[in-house]
């Protein structure tokens, strides 16, 4: 073989050898994980400020420079001590991250006083492709927070108001960053809409604002030239007026509280408007200057002038006016419930005390034991050497034992006593006639004869789980529960609730729901005339109208029905049911109901000073009020939950 032939024959082999030597030197192909690394960023609270002890909004931005992927986004908040709340909270959501896209995921998280950190993780196919760690402690503040929607920092003067918390901070969130869930505003006392910089709010953002007002928020629309942006921004349906144009005045009278007016001098540009709903507190002829519309527990204000512009900014009555509007430190909708040991919670205790659920009686077990022994005696004490054969005796013995076992299981594990999870459900629905929305607080105590983990399914992603409702008996060792919320579409699954044996967990949910009940009450001679319309799918039971401490029985109002009734003054019961001074005659109010209604009414309304309260309809609905279900649970004593409905009359 000559050298040329040798080279010709061995050329392919030499090429392969050269390639194999070069191959390790070539850069490795990027792995799938490296290709799909995502970048995370989080915006906590409003511009990085959130009130401690409240819920706060979080916007997690996930940038995916790689290929399209299905991902699981999880957000974990941890805090230090238990103090009755779970020390951890994880919210998980499935999402598709398109190639080269950035998506924003809004969350609402609890922010306890000893909050520590927020951990975000993005996983795809079981691999973590992105994460974020943020210290939350520096972001939490004890100050009251007012959110100003404004293109400039023009509302800072309000921070001079302070409050019971000691100070007040004005923050300026971007329109894009406004929460999409009402609970995101939990840490905010008021939202002042000055201008949206010609940006439009999304429908869910407007809806969140409206629902938050129902829970007790204060929403203020300022006027002036910027008021022309309110309706185009999508806020028109929240405005108590319809803005028709602009006008000018030289000095106006402005309400500053206590029914008094103060003069605001100078040339002012005002928004011209027509009243749609609410009360005009100050006006210049037909021109509304200050309007307040009560919505649920909160209120929506409209100021025809721009408090940040011109002579209004320098007006010495400005702080008094804001004090009148913002009132005191807002009572939070969340976390305000008095949550002690679940079974000592007044709502639950009232229902549980009247619950028929009990252990099977001693006579029942006595009968069972007696019957079983009576069947065994002839089998076990038969005369020796006679009677049945051993095999037949064994067979009969097995049959008797199996039958007794089945009977014991059926009677003591199903018929007389249920070993599974049992729940007691009490709710309160608060609404104002015609609002179409109601604030619901639903408390459910879950208990079981055996230790178990509980899963709660929420029919909506909106209800806010009350973290503070997590306390078991103080003497029970807490297993440091960690809540896991999985949100899929509009549904949420809550896991991580452990119920120890013969102990209870109290779960509190709060939400704003559609609620269509209108109540009109007017004086008719010495009595009154009431008309109630129930546009809901559930009947209202045992209704009565409360006017100046007197109760006028109305009876049941069927779903979709309207009731009109005229009462004489003598029809009113002086001491409504539940009050300590309740007379024997007043017992008629509950003759068609049961003691549970009276007990819960007493607890809920005794302290509310019903005599001094507004005219309202009080009734009952079969619960639960929210779409909540506990997996495998059944109501205690086969009774549905009890929901108190309170509708303030027009």
């Amino acid at each position: 073989m000559g050298p040329r032939r040798f080279l010709a024959c061995s050329a392919p082999a030499l090429c392969l050898l050269a390639l194999s030597l070069l191959a390790p030197a070539a850069p490795p192909a990027p792995s799938a994980q490296e290709k799909s690394l995502v970048r995370c960023d989080a915006l906590v609270g409003f511009n990085g400020t959130a009130r401690e002890g409240r819920f706060a909004p979080v916007i997690l931005s996930v940038e995916n420079p790689g290929a399209r992927m299905k991902a699981r986004i999880s957000l974990t908040v941890t805090w230090g001590s238990l103090r009755g709340v779970p020390p951890g909270w994880t919210i998980t959501r499935e999402a598709v991250l398109d190639a080269g896209s950035t998506r924003r995921f809004p969350f609402v998280i609890p922010l306890p006083r000893d909050v520590r950190a927020l951990q975000a993780a993005v996983t795809s196919q079981g691999t973590e492709v992105g994460s974020l760690h943020a210290e939350l402690r520096p972001l939490a503040t004890a100050s009251r927070i007012v959110a100003g929607i404004s293109s400039d920092l023009s509302l800072d003067s309000i921070s001079a108001l302070g409050g019971s918390a000691g100070s007040l901070r004005v923050v300026y969130p971007r329109v894009d960053d406004l929460p999409q869930a009402w609970a995101g505003y939990d840490g905010v006392d008021a939202v002042i809409v000055h201008d949206t910089y010609f940006q439009q709010l999304r429908a869910d953002q407007v809806d969140a604002l409206e629902r938050w007002v129902v829970t007790g928020g204060v929403l203020v629309f300022s006027g002036g030239a910027a008021a022309m942006q309110h309706e185009p921004a999508g806020l028109g349906r929240l405005l108590p007026v319809r803005i028709t144009g602009l006008t000018q005045r030289s000095g106006i009278a402005v309400a500053v509280g206590g029914g008094s007016l103060r003069w605001m001098p100078g040339r002012l540009q005002l928004a011209e408007s027509r009243l749609v709903q609410g009360t005009v507190l100050a006006a210049d002829g037909d021109l509304p200057l200050m309007v307040r519309h009560r919505l649920g527990r909160g209120s929506v204000w409209f100021l025809a002038f721009d408090p940040t512009a011109g002579s209004a900014a320098a007006w010495d009555g400005s702080l008094s006016m804001w004090r009148n509007i913002l009132d005191s430190d807002r009572v939070p909708a969340l976390g305000a419930a008095d949550l002690s040991v679940p079974m000592e919670d007044p709502w639950i205790a009232a229902l549980f005390a009247a619950s028929p659920a009990s252990f099977p009686s001693v006579p029942a077990i006595l009968v069972f034991i007696g019957a079983y022994l009576a069947l065994l005696v002839p089998l076990l004490v038969g005369p020796p050497g006679r009677g049945m054969k051993a095999r037949a005796r064994l067979l009969l013995l097995v049959v008797v034992c199996v039958c007794a076992g089945l009977a014991g299981w059926a009677v003591f594990n199903r018929l007389l006593f249920h070993p599974g999870l049992q729940t007691i459900d009490a709710a309160r629905v608060e609404a104002r006639s015609g609002d179409g929305l109601a604030f619901v607080t639903e408390k459910t105590a879950a208990f079981s004869a055996s230790a178990r983990d509980v899963e709660v399914r929420l029919g909506s992603s909106d209800p806010v789980l009350e973290a503070a409702g997590w306390r078991a008996r103080p003497d029970l060792p807490l297993s440091e529960p960690h809540l896991f919320l999985t949100q899929a579409g509009t549904r949420t699954l809550v896991r991580g609730i452990d119920v120890p044996r013969l102990a209870a967990r109290l779960v509190v949910f709060q939400d704003v729901v559609r609620f269509d009940v209108s109540v009109r009450v007017r004086a008719a001679g010495s009595g009154l005339e009431a008309s109630v319309s129930n546009g809901n799918g559930k009947p209202l039971r045992g209704c009565y109208i409360l006017v100046s401490g007197r109760a006028y029985p109305l009876g049941d109002v069927a779903a979709g029905a309207s009731v009109q009734r005229t009462f004489a003054a003598s029809d009113g019961l002086a001491n409504p049911p539940g009050t300590s001074a309740r007379s024997a005659a007043d017992g008629a109010m509950f003759q068609d109901a049961d003691s549970r209604r009276a007990a819960i009414f007493k607890i809920l309304d005794e302290g509310a000073g019903q005599g001094a309260g507004p005219t309202r309809l009080v009734g009952w609905m079969d619960g639960p009020a929210l779409a909540i279900s506990f997996a495998g649970a059944r109501p205690t004593g086969n009774r549905p939950g009890l929901t108190l409905v309170s509708v303030e009359a027009q």
Binding site: M343, E344, F352, A353, S355, A357, S358, F359, P360, V362, I365, L366, F368, I369, Y372, L373, L376, V377, L379, L380, V381, G382, P383, P384, G385, K389, A390, R391, R393, L394, L397, V398, C401, V402, A404, G405, A407, G408, W409, V411, F412, N413, F417, H418, P419, F447, S448, A449, S450, A451, R452, R473, D475, L476, P500, R501, L502, A503, A504
Partner: protein, 246 residues
């Protein structure tokens, strides 16, 4: 004693059957005594309710430990020692099959006894805070412990015969000492602790405890085989003409 023989003896003789009735009556009384009398509200509010299931299961365990040991030692039989001694010394029956037969019948009889007490456990399940899996685990623990006690009784019978009180003292110590030692020194294999752990939803101890007791029963059966082999060998040496054959 084969399984068929054992079944005939144990299910025909009223002396063997009567303890079963006493067992059921004792368990019924225990269940009645610890049945919760307060309201469910009070129990949940205070978290204090009698551990009905645990108490009944422990009573069942104690009763079956006692009965297992007595049945194993053939205390309820008409003339047990004669039977066992005759079988070992006078017949050529293989000792392994003798012990295996007694083990197998012991297992079957223990199952019958478990079945007898099971309705009480089932009735106590819901108020005791346990489910069916825990109840089955409790039966497994009790059954394994009872079988071990039964083999302990058989071993004591093989060792000491019917000499009382020596046999009873030996039997008492052989059953209680390991149970006490396990309870205080090695809780992981204690039957009592395993039963108590069931209401806390901890079933891991149960299988360990039952497995240990089953292993102990097999070990005791092997010991019994050794003792009986020794007894047969001694009997053969003492037998007239044994030396001539050699």
């Amino acid at each position: 004693m084969s399984v068929r023989e054992g079944m005939h003896v144990y299910l025909s003789d009223s002396r063997m059957l009567r303890p079963c009735l006493y067992l059921a009556a004792a368990l019924g009384l225990a269940l009645l005594a610890v049945w919760p009398r307060g309201t469910l509200e009070a129990a949940v509010r205070t978290g204090q309710a009698s551990d009905t299931f645990t108490v009944v299961a422990v009573c069942f365990l104690i009763a079956l430990l006692y009965l297992g040991a007595r049945f194993g030692a053939e205390d309820f039989a008409a003339d047990p020692s004669v039977q066992l001694a005759e079988l070992v010394t006078l017949t050529p029956v293989p000792l392994a099959s003798l012990v295996a037969g007694r083990f197998a019948f012991g297992l079957l009889h223990t199952l019958v006894l478990l079945l007898l007490g099971a309705p009480f456990l089932v009735a106590a399940m819901a108020v005791g805070g346990v489910g069916l899996p825990q109840a089955l685990l409790a039966l497994a623990i009790i059954g394994a412990a009872s079988l071990a006690a039964r083999m302990c009784g058989l071993c004591a019978l093989a060792l000491v015969g019917t000499r009382r009180p020596a046999r009873d003292i030996l039997l008492f110590l052989a059953v209680t000492a390991p149970a006490a030692a396990a309870f205080f020194v090695q809780p992981a294999v204690s039957s009592f602790r395993a039963i108590a752990a069931l209401t806390r939803g901890d079933g891991s101890l149960s299988l360990l405890s039952a497995g240990t007791d089953l292993a102990a029963a097999i070990l005791l059966a092997a010991c019994t085989l050794g003792v009986l082999s020794g007894a047969r060998a001694r009997a053969r040496r003492r037998a007239p003409g044994a030396g001539e054959h050699e």
